[in-house]
Symmetry: D2
Subunit: 354 residues, 4 copies
C-alpha cells in the first residue's frame, strides 16, 4: 500500500498537514456494538495536547475531535468511523522563513526532492500533529480490548536513565507528574534537566518504556505478522523514533542461553520474562514490555545552519514554539499505537481456529 493505511483488520487511514484545515482519519473494522466512552477518548487527547507544562511546547492546539460516522446513539455500528480534528491555529505566515530552506534532520529536503512539491508549513505531513489522529483511533482500540492495560512511561531523558522498580505503584505515578515518569522524585530532577536544556535553546532525546498487562496467550502470527514485529513497526512509525527493543532487547544479545531462557512453572507461566511476553511472534500470557528510543527534537531555539534552495548554507535562528524534549508528550502516542496493534491482533486471532 502507498503508506496511508495502518493495520490488517482494524485499519486506520489518516490524512492531514499540520497547517491545513484539519487532520483526520477513518478507523475501519471496529466491531459493532461497542458503547464508546467519549471521555476516555478526550482524556487521551488531553494527554497528547501541547502546552500542558513548561517542559513541552507552549503551542495551543484545540484537540476537539469530531466524529462523522460509524457511531449511532453512542454505539459503534460496524461501519467506518470517520473523524476530523481541526487545525485552528493556522498562522502560515509563521512559517514563511521555511519556504525556501531545508532544516537539518527534518523531512524538508527528502519530501521536496521525492515529490517535487511540498507543503512547507510546520512540517506539513511530516509534523507530529499527525499523531492526534492516532490517539483518537488508539483510544477506541483500547476500548475494543478492555482487559488489556497499556502503560507507557518515560524511562530515560538524555543520558539519565530511570533505574527504579516498575510496579503497580510506580505506574500509578505516571499521570501524576508532567514528565510522565514512574517516580515523582526522578521526574522532578528530569524536569529541571529539561528546563536547563531549553534555556540553552537546545533539545534532548529520551526513551519511553511500555508495559502491557492482560494480553492473553495467542495473539500474533508465526512468520510475517509476529506480534513484536508489528509493535516494532508501529513504534518506528512514530516521529523521531530511532530504535525499538522488546523483552531483553539489546541487553539480551549479551547473554547466554542458559541465563536467558524463561523456564516454565507448572502452570505454564514463566519464572522470568526475558521473552517480553512474546514467543515465536505470539503472546504467551506474560506481560509484554518494550522500549522505544526518541532522538532529540531537531527544531532548536538556537541559531543553526540550514540549506536554502539555491544551495547556500545560511544561519537561521530558532522560531516557533517547540518541545525541548518530546518524550513526555509521546507517552500517549506510544500507548495509542500499541492499542491499535493489539486490537488488530485480537480480531485476527478470532479467525484462527475452525
Amino acid at each position: 500500500m502507498a503508506g496511508a493505511i495502518f493495520g490488517s483488520l482494524l485499519t486506520l487511514s489518516t490524512f492531514g498537514e499540520s497547517h491545513g484545515p484539519a487532520m483526520g482519519g477513518i478507523l475501519s473494522g471496529c466491531p459493532a456494538g461497542l458503547t464508546l466512552d467519549f471521555e476516555a477518548i478526550n482524556f487521551e487527547l488531553s494527554r497528547r495536547k501541547p502546552g500542558q507544562s513548561a517542559i513541552v511546547t507552549q503551542r495551543k492546539e484545540p484537540d476537539g475531535v469530531k466524529f462523522l460516522s460509524g457511531i449511532y446513539e453512542g454505539v459503534t455500528t460496524g461501519t467506518p468511523i470517520g473523524f476530523v480534528v481541526e487545525n485552528a491555529n493556522q498562522k502560515s505566515g509563521d512559517y514563511d522563513h521555511l519556504k525556501s530552506v531545508y532544516r537539518p534532520s527534518h523531512a524538508d529536503y527528502t519530501y521536496e526532492k521525492k515529490y517535487g512539491h511540498r507543503d512547507h508549513r510546520g512540517g506539513g505531513r511530516a509534523s507530529a500533529r499527525e499523531t492526534v489522529s492516532w490517539v483518537v483511533a488508539g483510544a477506541i482500540a483500547k476500548q475494543i480490548i478492555p482487559k488489556v492495560k497499556i502503560s507507557a512511561y518515560v524511562s530515560a531523558v538524555g543520558p539519565h536513565e530511570y533505574t527504579g522498580q516498575i510496579d503497580e505503584l510506580a505506574l500509578k505515578q505516571v499521570e501524576q507528574n508532567v514528565l510522565r515518569a514512574p517516580d515523582l522524585i526522578w521526574a522532578k530532577e528530569m524536569e529541571e534537566f529539561i528546563k536547563s536544556v531549553r534555556k540553552e535553546g537546545d533539545t534532548v532525546g529520551g526513551v519511553i518504556s511500555c508495559h502491557v498487562d492482560g494480553v492473553p496467550l495467542g495473539w500474533g502470527s508465526p512468520v510475517f505478522e509476529k506480534l513484536h514485529a508489528s509493535l516494532g513497526k508501529a513504534m518506528l512509525t512514530i516521529n523521531a523514533v530511532k530504535g525499538f527493543e522488546y523483552g531483553s532487547g539489546f541487553q539480551g544479545a549479551k547473554m547466554r542461553g542458559s541465563a536467558h531462557n524463561d523456564l516454565y512453572r507448572a502452570d505454564g507461566r514463566t519464572q522470568t520474562n526475558y521473552s517480553g511476553g512474546i514467543q515465536g511472534g505470539i503472546s504467551n500470557g506474560e506481560p509484554i514490555f518494550f522500549r522505544v528510543a526518541f532522538k532529540p527534537v531537531a527544531t532548536l531555539m538556537q541559531a543553526q545552519e540550514v540549506l536554502d534552495k539555491d544551495g547556500q548554507i545560511k544561519t537561521q535562528g530558532g522560531k516557533g514554539r517547540h518541545d525541548p524534549c518530546v518524550v513526555p508528550r509521546a507517552v500517549p502516542i506510544v500507548e495509542a499505537m500499541t492499542a491499535l496493534v493489539l486490537a488488530d491482533a485480537y480480531l485476527m486471532d478470532r479467525t484462527t481456529k475452525i
Copy 2:
C-alpha cells in the same frame, strides 16, 4: 493479512515446516526482463547454509532451490516466481522427545495453545529453516536494485562489541572469516569465545550491523510505510531478533539536538549521518545503517527444565545439532530482508510523481 505475505508491490508468500517435505515461496511483482544471476542466488544460499564452520550448527541441509515459474530462458517474465527448497534430512524420529514437552523460550507452547495442534518436529513453522525462502527471494531482490550495496556483518558477540572502523576494507573482510566480522583478528577471538561457549553446552547472543550504500534519495513513504519502519519490521521478523535501531539509535536518545542534527553541505549531502540515511521516513541519499540484536539460541546442549503436556516440570538433556551463536549465519538473512524492503520501496517510488 493473516501473516503469510511480506511486502507491498514485491510480495513474498512462503510456506513450510522444517520437517515437512519442503520449504518454498512465491515472489510476486518482480519486474519482467531481469536476467537472473543464478550463481548469485546460490552464493547467498551457501552463505546461509549450516555446517560451514565449527561455530555454527553441523546439520547438513542441501539448499538447492528449484524455480518452478516466472522465469523463461533465464529472464523474469513478470509473473509470480514460485520456488521450492526440499527438506532432505527429515529424521522426524530425532524429535519424538519434543512431542509432549514445551521447551523454554521456544514457540512450542504458544503455537500449541493458539492453534490447538502443531507440528512439533524441529520447531515446525517456527524453525529458522523458513529463512531459506527469504534468502532466495532476497537474492532476486538484490538484482532488482543492482546499484544498491547491502553489507551486513557481525558487530557483537555476547558482551564483546566490535569497536573498530567500518570502511570498505573492513567490509571486504566479512566474507573472509567464518564469523562474518569486519576484522580478522577480532573474528578469530570471537570464534574462540563461541567455541568455549559451545563446550559448556551453552549459547550466546550477538548483534548484526547492516550498512547500505547506493540508495538514492526518495525511497520510503511519509507516514505508515516509513522506510526505517519497514526495515525494522523486516528485521524483527527474523527469528531470535529482540531489537532494532537505525542511525544514532538508542545512543541518539542520549544526545542533544545541537549535536545530533545532521548539518547540510552545499551539495545537499550531510556532514554527519546520525539520521542513518533516512529522514522523515524517506531515504536522503546518505548510507543507511542499522543494528539488529539477536538473543542467544534457546536450544541448549546442556540439560534444562521443560514443561510437559501434563503440567510436569522435567529435566531434558540437549539433543540435535544447533548453533551455539546464530549471528554468523544470520548475516545473509539480514541482507535478504533488507533487499526485499528496499526493492519494494524502489518499485513504490516509481509511482510517486505524475
Copy 3:
C-alpha cells in the same frame, strides 16, 4: 480488508452515513505534481446531484466538497487527499417510520442482523449518498490519466433498449439530455416512460453502458487483478447493480469461436472487438466497453408490505423523495469507479518492467 478500502496503489477509504454530519474519504497514492482542475471535480459532482430533473429524486443535496489535505497551492503533494462533503439536510425525523421496520429489498434487515445495531436513517451506510465520495475521488483519478476518455451513458430503461449507433456524435449528446442517453429522441421517449412509472408510484431499472477510449496496451494483471475483473468488482460495488458484462458479454456466450475471435490487422490492432479491449486481463489498446445492470429502486412511492421488529407484516405508504429510475444519476458514478480502477492499473503498470 474489512471492506473500507478500494484500490491497490491509488486507494480510496470512505466513511459516512446518509444522515450523519458528513460523508468523506481519503484518496491515497495520488501522484505528486498534479495541478488539479477543481471545476472538473465540481462538474462531476453536479452531474451526480439529485434534483436535476423531473425524472430523478427532488432531494436537495449541497454537494460542495471540502479538501482538507494533500493539495498545496492547487497541486497534489503526494500525501493523502482527505475530503468531506457535508450532509446539510439531516431531517432525521423523516425517517422515524423506518426505525422499527425492514423495507423489502433494502439493506435494513441484513445490517440489523449482522451488526445488531444500525443507523436506520435514510439507509445509513447503505445509502447511495456514499457515492458522492467516489465521484470526488474519481474526478481526481480522471486527471491522473488525462488521455483516457471515459463515456458512460444510459443504454436501457426497463424493457426499452437503445439500439442505435454509438459514435462520437452520440456520446456528445449524453450530456445534452436529462436521461444521459446517446440519442435525444430516444431520451425524450424514456423520460416520458419514467414519468409514467413515477405517476404509478413505481420505479424501474435500467442499463448503463460505458465506453473507454485511450487506454494504452498493457494495463491490468494476468491472474488475480485482471483489468475486467477489477472493473466488474467496481461496478458491482455500486448500489443497485445486479450484473456486469464486458465486450461480447452474455451475448458472446452464444457465439462460435470462429465468429468471436478478434482477428488482427498488420498494425496489431484488431478488426473486431468482441474482447472489449481486454485480452488475458490486460488492455490491448482497443476501446474498452462494458454494460452494467441496475435493478429498479426498491423504495416505492406506493404502499407496500414491510416487516417490523416484532415479526409483523405491515403495510406502509411511500415517503420521502426518491428516484423513480436510478440510471441517469448513476452515469457519473460508473465513470468515477471506472476512473479509479484505470488510474490504479496505470500506476501499477509503471512497476512492471525492469
Copy 4:
C-alpha cells in the same frame, strides 16, 4: 497488490505456467484444527481434469496435488498450506509454432507487449491450467464452511438455454452427465451439439449457473467488499468469462420495483428471491445464485489468421488438443472460486461484533 494474491483473510497466492515444471499455490489463513478430507480434494481435481469425455479436451493431465506444509497428521495447523501440482506432459516442442505469432483473442499479444518477454508455451501464465491450484484451494475452502452447499451447473451452451426447473433432483443429475447439466435429456442434446461444433473445428461458448444453499445471514460487507462484488470479481477472474449477474441480473433491469421487491414473510425470510440471497452486499439467508458467461474457446481446430512478430498476417492451422466448449470443465472451477470467497467472508464475519 501486484495481482498474485486472492482473498483477504483466507488468501491464495499462486504460481505457474502451463509448460513449466509445476503449478502451485499457498493457501494462508485456513483455520487450524480442520481434519481434511483428501478424497474430497481429489474428487474436485478429477472433475476439473481434461480428457473425461469426448466433448472436452483429450489432453492427459495427471492432477495429483502434493501438499508441502500446513497439515500435520491430516489436520490443518493454521500455518500456510503450500502445494504443487506437477506439469508432467511438457512437450514444449508442440508449441514452437506459437513462438513468433500472436493468436487472435489470446493473451499472447498483450503479455508480450506489456512485459516484453513471455513464455509462449501453451499460453504460459494465461493458460487455464492455472485453475488447478484454485480447485485445490477451493476444495479446502468448502471444508471450512461444511454447511454451505455450492452447486454449479451448465445452463446454456451457445444459443441453447436450459429452461427447466432447478430443484434438488435437478442438481443431483449434474454429476451424472458429462455436460454437467441439471437434466439428462438436455445434456445429451447439448453433447451432440458440441460434437457437431467440434467436427467443424469450431468452438462455442456457454453459461454456468451457480446455486448456493446454507449461507447464513450476515456474510459480506457494506461498501467495498460487498459479497456479490467479491463473487463477481472471482468469476471474472476465471479464464474466458465475459459476464456475471446475480439474482435477477440483467433481467432485473427490465422490471418494475413493485414486482422486483422481495416481500418479507413473518419469519424474516422472503417470498421471492430477486435479490439472489444478498441485500446491501450482505447475505440474507436465502439461497445465493448467479450466472457466469463464458466466451467460446479462442483456440480453434480450423485454420485462421494470426499475426507474427514481423507484422505479417499469416494463416495457421489448429494444433494441439483443446476444449470445443469450456463450460463442462469450468463447473468445478466456478464452485472453487465461490468457496474461496464464501469461506473468506465467513472468517471476516467472525470479527464483526464486539
